[in-house]
């Protein structure tokens, strides 16, 4: 099975564990299972950045992201003997982390209800269009406010740059379901953020003024 490159990057633009050798992970796991607890630190150092960033993309809170990642590592330590060698360690670790994050995120409501997201204002854009940075911010906020089942696939696929297959494994879902949720998530975003996706549309206030 293909390991996630440094946590699942499609483009190679990844954080932290960019050059992780699966054998390093396996060697550390064997040492931990043999009773050498300190060997777990190697795994933590290699995977801390991808796991924290994955959590951060869901909760948008650095402190909480680190707490969630710590809990994921702790669960990984407890369940290390359950890692079957037919899957890459990273695949197993991400699936476990996603389970932890999903459970944790069920307790956290989406920070902003999708209906409440104000379309970003950009005074510099006279034609009603939006600066790229504003558009990106609006998109991130909109993704963050999606229902959890759409948010998780969107975050893994677009923000964490995972392939559909890898995202499906991490979420324990069939690939078809992931594709369907991606499609539905995009539809929701299109409906909720028309100005972001259609810059030619002018803001309501401007239209009234013109009339």
């Amino acid at each position: 099975m293909q390991p996630f490159p440094g946590g699942g990057g499609r483009t190679g633009k990844r954080e932290g564990a960019t050059h992780v050798s699966p054998s390093e992970d396996q060697a550390d796991v064997e040492r931990v299972l043999a009773g050498e607890t300190s060997a777990f630190e190697g795994l933590v150092r290699r995977w801390q950045s991808p796991l924290i960033n994955l959590a951060y993309r869901f909760c948008r809170d650095r402190g909480r992201a680190e707490e969630m990642a710590q809990e994921a590592f702790l669960r990984a330590y407890r369940a290390l003997d359950k890692w079957r060698r037919d899957a890459a360690f990273s695949t197993w670790l991400f699936a476990l982390a996603m389970n932890v994050y999903r459970t944790e995120l069920r307790r956290i409501p989406a920070h902003v209800p999708l209906e409440d997201i104000a379309e970003p204002k950009d005074e510099r854009a006279e034609d009603g269009g939006l600066e790229q940075r504003d558009r990106e911010r609006a998109v991130r906020a909109a993704v963050g406010a999606l229902p959890m089942k759409y948010r998780e696939v969107m975050v893994l696929f677009y923000f964490h740059e995972m392939e559909v297959a890898a995202a499906a494994k991490s979420l324990g879902l069939p690939e078809g379901t992931v594709k369907a949720r991606l499609s539905r998530g995009r539809d929701i975003l299109r409906d909720k953020l028309p100005r972001v996706f259609h810059p030619q549309l002018k803001p309501a206030a401007a239209q009234v003024k013109e009339a």
């Binding site: 954080e15 932290g16 607890t37 300190s38 777990f40 630190e41 933590v44 150092r45 801390q48 950045s49 924290i52 960033n53 951060y56 993309r57 650095r62 992201a65 680190e66 990642a69 710590q70 590592f73 702790l74 330590y77 407890r78 790229q132 558009r135 990106e136 911010r137 998109v139 991130r140 993704v143 969107m154 677009y158 923000f159 964490h160 740059e161 995009r186 975003l189 299109r190 972001v196 996706f197 259609h198």
Partner: protein
Amino acid sequence: MHNDELDSLLRTSSEDEITPSSGFAASVMEAVRSEAALPSPIKFPWLRALPGMLAVVLAAGVGTYLVATQAAGAAASPAWLNWQDALARAPVAGLGTAMIWSCSALLFSYLSVKLSMRFATRRA
């Protein structure tokens, strides 16, 4: 808007990475070491509990069989004969059944207590 445009907008919307705090790995390792220092959880002694569990299943089976046989016997007899017969034998039959169940319950309780004490003394 085409899917491609939307895809590219979503992809470029990913923020810069955050860097883990300097003490993150140390904090995780501290938690892991605390976890490692804990005694491993006591597993349920399935092997030792097996005889007791088998006895319970057997008792339940025998009980069910007895009840079913009595019910079938009662149904097969004519009603007038059945109630007179039952009335005549009631004290004796009832006493016998009660004694069997009481003895079984006492025996089962005794065995449970003995087994529990044996496990407890061995662990201590």
